[in-house]
Amino acid sequence: MAPSAYLILGAILFSVGTLGVLLRRNALVIFMSIELMLNAVNLTLVTFARMRGTLDGQVLAFFVIAVAAAEVVVGLAIIVAMFRRKQTASVDDARLFKW
């Protein structure tokens, strides 16, 4: 397969992730959409690594995975803290941090 096939697939996945962030109101699903976008970028990085014949893109994708893990931990803690206060996971009901 040509590299552009992989890159276009990454673009499609990224756009679907954007759509999820824009459409859904549930904080958990928005979070999952962000994970989808990160993975689409990872696919692009690995494609570029094979295209250029070096491993640097794969190292970068490795770092993205580590940062995504850290992001998930903090983000889910925020969602749990928000749910404890507001009894909802909808982003529309959480316009203020303090009231």
Binding site: I12, N39, V74, V80
Partner: protein, 178 residues
Amino acid sequence: MEKAVFIIASIGSVLSAVWMVFGENTVHSALALVANFFTLAVFYILLEAHFLAVVQIIVYAGAIMVLFLFVIMLLGVDRRDQYRETIPFQFPLAVLFSAGLLGVLIYTIRAAFTKTPFTGLAQANASGNTQGLGRLLFTHYLFPFEVTSLLLIVAAMGAMVIGKRRAPAETQPEDEDA
């Protein structure tokens, strides 16, 4: 062979992504995302990134999605306000903007990379993909690697601080509110 695997996996990948975004049930969305991560692991194997394919399954499908499902079960699934439009014309505008982004991306990719072939990683992977990655990670990328470890520690501590329950005296008036 690569073409057949790519076509099957890409169909599965796009379908599971769409199911994740439009599924009514949050648990189904999480399971669709797990399926999507598995198809991405297939692509990594096709792209000669064997170590990342395994990391993708262990870290993403294993650790991160289990964390997601854990929180979903903790909060309970509510499908009360999934598609409520808070901004007028939110649905058509969101579809329009995403389609526009996709159009721009595909146009750019086709303009820049249609004729570029894969160089292939046969040379870089000569002593094994994991060995090559490890050599790069602990020489050229040593400083970013150490910063990442610091980031993980800070994230773990931050999650503990955010997730901690407040002292009873502090939360009581808010409990009456809710």
